[in-house]
Amino acid sequence: MSKEKKKNEPKKAEHRDLRDPAYYANRELSWIAFDERCLYEARDRENPLFERLKFLSITASNLDEFFMVRVASLKDMINAGYRKRDIAGMTASEQLAAVEARVHEFVEEQYRVWNRMLQPRLKENGLELLRSYRDLNKEDEIFVDRYFDEFIYPVLTPMAVDSSRPFPLIRNRSLNIGALVTKKGGDGEMEFATVQVPGVIDRLVELPSEQGRRFLLLEEVIRRNMSKLFLNYDIVCCGAYRVGRNADLSIDEDEAEDLLKEIEKQLKKRQWGQAIRLETDEDIDERLLKHIRGELAVEEQEIYRIDGPLDLTFLMKVYGLDGFDDLKEHGYVSGQPVPAFREEENLRDIFARIREGDILMHHPYETFDPVVRFIEQAATDENVLAIKQTLYRVSGNSPIIAALARAAERGKQVSVLVELKARFDEEHNIVWAKMLEKAGCHVIYGLVGLKTHCKITLVVRREEDGIRRYVHLGTGNYNDSTAKLYTDVGLFTCEEDYGEDATAVFNMLSGYSEPVVWNKLTLAPLWLKDRILMLIRRETEHARSGRPGRIIAKMNSLCHEEVIAALYEASSAGVQIDLIVRGICCLKAGIPGVSENITVRSIVGNFLEHSRIFYFENAGDPEYYLSSADWMPRNLERRVEIMFPVEKETGRRKLWHILETELADTEKAHLLQPDGSYTGVDKRGKTILNSQRQFGLEAKEQADAVSQRDTRVFEPMTAADADDH
């Protein structure tokens, strides 16, 4: 029986095998569906033009990463002869074929959006991006040639290939121009030559213009001047190309004596991993393509002929151009003061404020500043004995890193877990790790074989009535830059139970044995999966016994087979399950008898949805959890993650409101259909609601309310008042 047929004719619930691959979606294809939702935003005329550019750029950078990691991993599996089928019953080869077919369609759609929708609209709005150097006028030509001679030529390294000069290593994701050349006065034999488009020069070359702004891309300027690079040659043809390589690191941590050095070594190799994608101009000369393809050993289906500029990530630069403010979104409010930290006296002492009660923050609507201030104040507070923190991705010039270094210099015990294996942030993190070590911090690199993904900070402070622990736990990274763009939730607490657990987390990360008992925290990879399964099964039991059972879970990705099977079982038992999954979702919604009580929605909005919030009805005694982990095998089985409960009423109310509002979103939510596609929300009879806008407005209202309450009105003293005295 074909898979399709299986899907359409579900078996009776009581005989169902909930692990049947027919009930699961392939994670790679589900990921592409997510990028398609981003592309939908680029297409959506309701969005301001520049926001659409940003979304298109995001689809391109997403796709780059997808190739470097996911497609690369499929290739590795095929190369290694790995035959095991995935959750959806597909072999690696089947997946790769399906992925490549779908990506080809996707790329075509990307460029259709660019060529037919965005580029013409940009021109209408006074921003012209010339497609080719052939479109330049005389005046432009003089300008670009001079620009080439003065600025570009000195940094170029043209390379010719012949028997004595082997094919150069083409860097991962670099843009290059390849050419076939013949020696002047020679026998006409063609040689291959190539030049990398330098990353150090802005890709957007602005042309002189009296009205509006006009740009030509850097590679077009180089193409026009190719002959200057190969003086003794005639250029037969030339074309741009870009290579995507396998960029997954393979580090044997058991063997690596110094993890930091080993990662540095591997990072160098990343540039030269196996080529797995070749993008070229659509009209590239076939002889040239054949040469490049042969050298890079890529197959036909790995070649993407592009109808437009290669590498659309440059659109983020376009987004950053001055002067187009009216084409950008201003309706979203973020960075509002957290009401609990608003009052003047509390600004001075963040610890005093936490002592008054737990504080739950919803970023980016509420500012991330208190988290930075928390570390900064801890660094200078003479009563603070120690600061411990996990760092996964940090911003450039991170104020948190600076504060940690300052604390160590002041003699505090500072332990920082820097995750060197945070994908694509490895180099960055090595630099921070070295800097922190130099400042006297105790830098730890976590546990062998596991990435430390949890976000936790512990400050130990000596106070009048004894030692007190202050803890921050979050769903997002300690990165003050991304905290302005990602939606996350964070909790400050000085409750003893959380403090004890936080101490135990850092002990474990330092290599000590796990504690005898955890009070509040549940950790992956040892206990989290089982705990989540237990919580889901508890709802199943409640529903079977006629008690209310409901699950609302918000996360970035859902692809853990056991967890999904447990959700199916819960759904079959009558538990209402509402999932808010931004990205990959291998669960299929609405299968009769399996998942008909499950809804899945994905919110793709102005901010990147990033928080993980789980709600379990528990027969009328609800439990709320926050976590750094998605429900994916890597999070639950190969990473150090934390899930923690929110038990104080104000925090629980806030979390309920977040979930409730997102479930009511009619604007940016995409609903997963039984056929695996996503559609917008049917707005009929519903109040129009954009959850991200709504959260911003609410954050502002709350901040304003506190601000007004704090404002004291001083009445000027009048002459009459003075006379009274």
Binding site: L385, R462, S513, E514, V517
Partner: protein, 526 residues
């Protein structure tokens, strides 16, 4: 009193652990941190009798890391104790010196009885249920890597303690050497346990029913602490929800253990947060408890989850008066001394008399002898055990008593303290050697010699006051006047014998203290 932060370190057979505590008048003892580093010292030490450079380096590395953890908490006081692995290694002196030189931490070696007494103190001080539990006959089963200590309580007093060489690591080693399969594993371990347990039961239990056992161990206790998870996993029933943390019915426990080797228990192990590599030791620890519970007909098992570190800090807290307790630990030591004396047919009444006379002299002479509260306890113990040797030989009473005391565990006394007691009892009957050179067998240093000398002098006088074994001097006062210790008695009995034979003992006393003891009857008596 401002809160004080202190650290307790336990250099154990398979793990070095440290706990950090805050001691304050308001909050009492509060645990702040607990770090554990696995290091298998036991295997090397038990097999070779030494600790090699590799292990010493490792210990130093771990302790240096502990130092930085201590800085995190601003620790001002640290006590580090080592147990059997270091104790049983011949090169322990070198090892300890190396450790101190390289880490700045002075590690002291605890005798088995000191170690168990600290564990016991931790139970009594940490567990709120303790006083209630020991109202009924109770056994504390303290399971270590090398041995198991079983201490029996009757009518809320500790009466006996025995050390059985069937610790978890030792049993595992023995069973592993046999290379048997999983099927027979449990049966074989139980057989090894029963071999020792049956002797113990015959000697000390005599078919007594011990309804409660209190567990101190590193494997089962952490599991029993997780009551919520145990109930959620269905390993114990809902009825346990109202019981104190760590309490489980013996029947449930035995039932739970019977199902351990099955596959589903591996997932239960994960639920309970047990590292899989620990499973065999959890299992052996469980079997030890099971066998003991069966022999004692136990109903309730209680694992208060205390560790040696807790004992170390509770003792310190008690000294600092941060922690008040209703339980009198000295009475436990005295009760177990009486129990030993009883076993060797000691004369309890005479022991009591000599004890009270000795204490009378001790208290009266306080300014002169300069000894402390602890030595006061030792002289009591010595008085209780003064005649235990007669069970073996009336002729060699001193030597026999010494041997018995030295080979009997007296819970709560360090090895050194036990030796002081044994030497003091020995020299009641034998001539005290004039110098260390003269005393070839003794390992006494000068300080110990002086203590023993003083205690012996007092004991000899006290014993001399009941020379006839007739307990004539029951009503006696002691008074120190100038250079005389006046022993005034109101007895109406004939004390000629006591007076006549008092001379040599009095001379020895005078030689030691410069004070002459003189027996006098109260005025108006002859």
């Amino acid at each position: 009193m401002a809160a004080e932060v202190c650290a307790a370190i336990d250099v154990g057979s398979y793990e070095i652990s440290m706990k950090i505590y805050e001691l304050g008048a308001r909050k009492g003892v509060r645990e702040l941190d607990h770090v554990r580093s696995r290091i298998d010292l036991g295997s090397e030490s038990y097999a070779t009798g030494r600790l090699g450079t590799g292990h010493v380096n490792e210990i130093c590395g771990i302790l240096n890391e502990f130092c930085s953890v201590m800085k995190t908490w601003g620790v001002t006081k640290v006590r580090a104790c080592a147990t059997s692995a270091v104790r049983e290694s011949r090169n322990r002196a070198v090892v300890l010196e190396q450790i101190e030189k390289r880490t700045g931490i002075r590690v002291e070696i605890l005798s088995n009885s000191e170690q168990r007494f600290l564990d016991y103190k931790a139970i009594a001080l940490k567990g709120t249920e303790f006083e209630k539990t020991i109202e009924e006959p109770t056994a504390i089963v303290d399971i270590g890597g090398g041995s198991v200590q079983i201490s029996l309580f009757d009518r809320d007093k500790l009466i006996t303690t025995q050390n059985l060489r069937m610790g978890v690591l030792r049993l595992r080693e023995r069973v592993n050497q046999m290379g048997i399969g999983t099927r027979k594993y449990a049966a074989l371990v139980c057989e090894l346990i029963h071999a020792q347990l049956s002797v113990y039961a015959r000697m000390y239990l005599h078919d007594r029913v011990i309804p409660n056992i209190i567990i101190v161990d590193d494997y089962i206790s952490p599991i029993l602490q997780k009551k919520k998870t145990l109930i959620e996993s269905g390993l114990i029933g809902e009825e346990h929800a109202d019981l104190p943390q760590g309490v489980v019915s013996a029947e449930r426990f035995i039932g739970f253990l019977a199902s351990v080797p099955t596959e589903s228990q591996v997932s239960n192990a994960r639920n309970l947060g047990i590292p899989l590599e620990n499973l065999p030791l959890v299992y052996i620890s469980g079997l030890i408890i099971k066998c003991i519970a069966e022999v004692m007909h136990t109903e309730t098992i209680w694992a208060p989850g205390v560790t040696l570190c807790d004992g170390i800090v509770y003792e310190y807290a008690q000294k600092r008066k941060v922690l008040a307790t209703q339980h009198d630990f000295e009475q436990d030591i005295i009760a177990s001394a009486y129990h030993i004396s009883g076993r060797y047919k000691g004369n309890r009444k005479r022991s009591e008399l000599i004890g009270s006379l000795s204490l009378g002299i001790f208290d009266c002479m306080k300014k002169i002898h300069g000894l402390g509260k602890r030595e006061r306890l030792l002289i009591q113990i010595a008085a209780i055990l003064h005649d235990c040797g007669k069970y073996i030989s009336m002729m060699n009473l001193g030597e026999s008593s010494y041997s018995i005391i030295m080979s009997t565990e007296i819970i709560g006394l360090s090895h050194r303290e036990r030796q002081i007691v044994a030497e003091a009892v020995r020299y009641i009957y034998m001539a005290f050697p004039e110098s260390a050179e003269e005393e070839s067998r003794s390992e006494m240093d000068d300080e110990m010699r002086m203590t023993v000398l003083k205690l012996t002098a007092i004991l000899r006088v006290a014993s001399g006051l009941d020379r006839s074994h007739m307990r004539k001097l029951t009503d006696t006062d002691f008074h120190l006047k100038d250079e005389e210790l006046l022993i005034t008695t109101s007895t109406t009995e004939d004390i000629t014998l006591e007076k006549e034979l008092f001379g040599t003992r009095a001379a020895f006393f005078e030689e030691v203290f410069g004070v002459r003891p003189i027996i006098r009857r109260k005025r108006g008596m002859k």
